[in-house]
Symmetry: C2
Subunit: 229 residues, 2 copies
């Protein structure tokens, strides 16, 4: 395995040698919101068979980007988690997501799957650090059956799968609304006004939340275009 290399002494190429194969960066994306079990990973990634998934995870493990953990009680089952090196791929994945939010997220297509965790990462991708100066807050998102939380500490954001301990605000929202929101086709304020979402908790923290994400204005990639430089 991994005999196929670009053979270039270049940081980008070396990185792509490690994580450029099909599915690999999406596996990293899944783990960026916390450890996941083998089955969870496969469930999120339709089209990825057990054989290839096992091969990819073994590769990531061998390369030191992922390691096996035992989930804390009461779960106690085995799962995969990112190592420090794996976690630091976050900025690269989020950069790809930012580009996609601006240039590739038109209407959802038939056939396309969606999981709330992707939208959570989408929010994280357009987190505006400046807008969060001085803010320390814990937000919980209850999207259909899935729960996530975002911890904001003065310009930093952490988004994790699972409930929060003592959230300042809890947002309850349907999957489709949440999807539209993360794709910039709706806002949280609108959704709450609509009744499509509800928020409870610290009202001031909620007001800050509205300002924290700066979604790019979607653009179309027309093939006929003036030079970039």
């Amino acid at each position: 395995m991994e005999q196929r290399t670009y053979n270039q002494y270049c940081a980008t190429a070396r990185t792509l040698d490690l994580v450029g194969e099909r599915w690999t960066l999406l596996l990293v994306r899944e783990l960026l919101t916390g450890p996941k079990r083998f089955g969870d990973l496969q469930h999120s990634l339709r089209g990825l068979g057990t054989g290839l998934l096992a091969a990819r995870m073994k590769h990531l493990e061998r390369e030191g980007l992922v390691h096996k953990v035992t989930l804390p009680p009461p779960a106690r089952t085995a799962a995969y988690a990112l190592t420090r090196a794996g976690e630091e791929l976050g900025p690269a994945v989020l950069a790809l997501a930012r580009w996609g939010l601006k240039w590739a997220m038109d209407e959802p297509r038939e056939q396309e799957t969606f999981h709330p965790g992707w939208a959570v990462l989408g929010l994280r991708a357009c987190f505006d650090a400046e807008a969060a100066t001085g803010l320390h807050a814990l937000y919980e998102f209850r999207v259909e059956e899935e729960i996530f939380h975002a911890r904001i500490d003065d310009g930093t954001i952490e988004t994790v799968h699972g409930p929060a301990q003592h959230p300042d605000v809890t947002i309850t929202i349907g999957g489709e609304v949440f999807r539209d929101l993360a794709a910039g086709r709706s806002t949280l304020a609108e959704a709450i006004n609509n009744g499509a979402a509800s928020a409870s908790g610290d009202q001031q923290a909620l007001r800050r939340l509205h300002q924290l994400f700066r979604l790019p204005r979607p653009q179309t990639r027309s093939a006929a275009q003036a030079p970039a430089s």
Copy 2:
């Protein structure tokens, strides 16, 4: 073509549908330092055949990331350039490069090729915007037969293939030294002291240059490691 899609309504997955195939991001990398001809691209990317290269460029063109241009005189030949959308993949490519600089750039391996343009992009990846506040300068790098320039304007950097008009500083340097420098295994100051590089022009701009790039301390990805979270 492009029938293979992840079918996920996710910004990262949609982006990878467009540029996640083998070679594609490396082609973007090549074009990030300016337009290139078909043959130049193939020359830089050993192992990429003409058939696949043609298919990739056609795909990128159809998707509006690349377009054909006619090089200005005296060249006048056809070339490929990034569109606005393509150019904006820069941050994602540079994020991958930053990760690689930290976690994947050990010694060059036998068989690995190297082109100065990659190192130029490596420098750009670790450009420190804060260190460049108030600086407006044009640097020219003459690496073996290749010439690049970097234009710095107060926190922004632009790196382009080709000579500069009226550079403030011109650095002449060998390919291997430049390679080591961009991989963090040497510094420009050392290279100049060694005589491995020479610089002429505005001495103050040269002093600033030394401070502009913050290379990450290389790390090893040990598979046996404590959890990241």
